[in-house]
């Protein structure tokens, strides 16, 4: 059987943001195909915050064999990060600062280990920084300034999280496309992209109103396309939108 490389990237959501709504976390567990998968949490983007670890264990203790890796307290953790990560079924990456997280990961060689894990079929998932990191280019906004950070590049697209249609961050994303940013995917809180290999297989959502989009340049104009989204809350849910361009006009790019 051929190994499937899988990434589930949340615009926002899961136990970190949707207390009481288990849908996205149930979904990532289901993608492993196992009843009780081994799940390792990477809270690096939060600086390995204790309260975040507690919330992870509360959410995943019952769902599988839960563990975590703290790169700030290696003297107390697993002797070999690589062995530990490669023995997992699911690696779950928390939110926080994507720039700080990528810096720490590279210093400890996690960029290479995570690629190996992905290629072996271990499901990778996460929200916020834990979504951005898998892409080639991470589009973030800080103090009204939008910048592009180079991610791990497993997915050859750009990504923006906590998306809001028509927001300044959306316009800035479009602006970046005009400056050479690669086409990308963006999702609101509650929506998640499920990639198989490097192609988008489906979009799932933990809330009926959650949305996901593909943003690209058509000619010299940015185009935002709403993607069909499957709401995980009802088993017979039929996607409402069939990848149709949304009736929403973008401003032309200012050079």
């Amino acid at each position: 059987m051929e190994t499937k490389r899988q990434i589930v990237a949340f615009g926002g959501g899961g136990f970190s943001m949707e207390s009481g709504n288990p849908l996205l976390d149930d979904f990532v567990v289901a993608t492993t195909g196992l009843k009780k998968p081994r799940v390792c949490f990477l809270p690096t983007a939060s600086g390995d915050a204790d309260h975040y670890l507690v919330r992870f264990y509360n959410a995943f203790r019952e769902r599988g064999e839960a563990s975590h890796i703290s790169l700030f307290r290696r003297e107390r953790g697993a002797a070999s990060i690589r062995d530990h990560l490669l023995s997992q079924d699911l690696i779950y990456v928390g939110g926080g600062s994507v720039i700080s997280m990528l810096g720490v990961w590279r210093a400890h060689g996690l960029d290479l280990i995570l690629r190996e894990a992905w290629e072996r079929g271990i499901v990778l998932c996460g929200l916020s920084a834990g979504s951005l990191c898998w892409f080639e280019e991470c589009v973030t906004t800080y103090q009204k300034e939008t910048s592009v950070t180079i991610g791990l590049g497993f997915l050859p697209w750009s990504n923006q999280v906590h998306f809001e249609l028509g927001s300044p961050a959306h316009r800035a994303f479009e602006q970046k496309l005009g400056e050479g940013l690669r086409p990308g995917y963006t999702a609101t809180d509650g929506a998640a992209f499920h990639f198989i290999d490097t192609e988008l297989a489906q979009v799932v959502a933990s809330r009926p109103e959650a949305r996901a989009y593909r943003i690209e340049l058509k000619g010299d104009r940015p185009k935002t396309t709403q993607l069909a989204t499957r709401y995980l809350g009802s088993p017979d849910h039929v996607p409402l939108v069939e990848d149709s361009p949304i009736p929403w006009s973008s401003t032309p790019i200012q050079a």
């Binding site: 600086g47 926080g96 810096g103 720490v104």
Partner: protein, 261 residues
């Protein structure tokens, strides 16, 4: 490297006598009554308990305290450059040397701090926050004591928690002259003050705690004790006329007399 950097072998924000004396000493070094002191807790991931202990420790001394948490900038956006430049003291906390260097790099913090040092902001650091200024240090960032690269703003190397972590000192002595440049070994509650890249003062705030100059002679590391000023509060030792002042006066004189290399 222009400016003043105070590095410490170990310092906690607690009520331990030596640690209290060090806080007082730092404030004294700024010459200001109510200095602005900003904590950079990057090396341990910006934990809130370290931040609140820092705030209590320096806040209770009348300092204006703040912190820059690079892991939480999204939730608390500030102009990092302007904020750091305003400070009298930037205090860099301990934790993982490897992570500190790795996180600071994409945020450009070393460059910002270089500018601050040139403008007269004093930089203080303990443990990882002390070793980071040197070319190299001995860190447990990866579990066991190993050499790791610092920012190289000060020449040579530093090994912290010198006698508290026997493995660290052992590793340092085996690496100096082979894989890392000579430097200093510093116990907890000791410190070394560098001015424009030169060591001008070493102090100890705990009985028996010392500083060693570690050099390589014939391929072997050799330790020589460094003379330290005792900054423990003693009967009637309050400034002026404290050993620290004498030491500084002596150094000033040496400097002006041009006898220092």
């Amino acid at each position: 490297m222009k400016g003043r950097i105070l590095v410490m072998g170990g310092h906690e924000f607690d009520r331990l006598d030596g640690n209290e004396a060090i806080c007082d000493h730092i404030i004294e070094l700024t010459g200001g009554r109510k200095p602005e002191v900003c904590l950079l807790p990057t090396a341990s991931g910006d934990p809130s308990d370290q931040i609140s202990r820092f705030r209590r420790s320096f806040g209770s001394r009348g300092c204006e305290v703040s912190d820059v948490s690079l892991f939480r900038l999204g939730a608390n956006p500030i102009d990092v450059s302007a904020h750091l430049m305003r400070q009298d003291v930037i205090y860099v906390g301990g934790g993982s040397l490897v992570n500190l260097v790795a996180v600071w790099k994409p945020h450009g913090i070393a460059g910002l701090i270089t500018d601050c040092l040139e403008q007269g902001v004093m930089v203080v650091g303990q443990s990882a926050g002390a070793m980071c200024w040197f070319e190299a240090g001995i860190t447990s960032s990866s579990g066991r004591p190993e050499p790791a690269l610092g920012l190289g703003m000060l020449e040579g190397s530093l090994c912290v928690h010198y006698h508290r972590d026997p493995g660290r000192r052992e590793k340092y002595l085996s690496e100096v002259g082979r894989n890392i440049a000579p430097g200093y070994g510093a116990d907890d509650q000791t410190g070394l003050l560098f001015e424009d890249g030169e060591m001008v003062e070493a102090f100890s705030a705990r009985e028996g705690a010392g500083v060693w100059r570690v050099s390589a002679e014939g391929g072997r590391a050799v330790e020589k004790p460094v003379e330290v000023v005792d900054i423990r509060p003693g009967p009637g030792s309050a400034s002026p006329g404290s050993p620290v002042d004498d030491f500084r006066a002596l150094n000033k004189w040496r400097k002006s007399a041009g006898t220092r290399g």
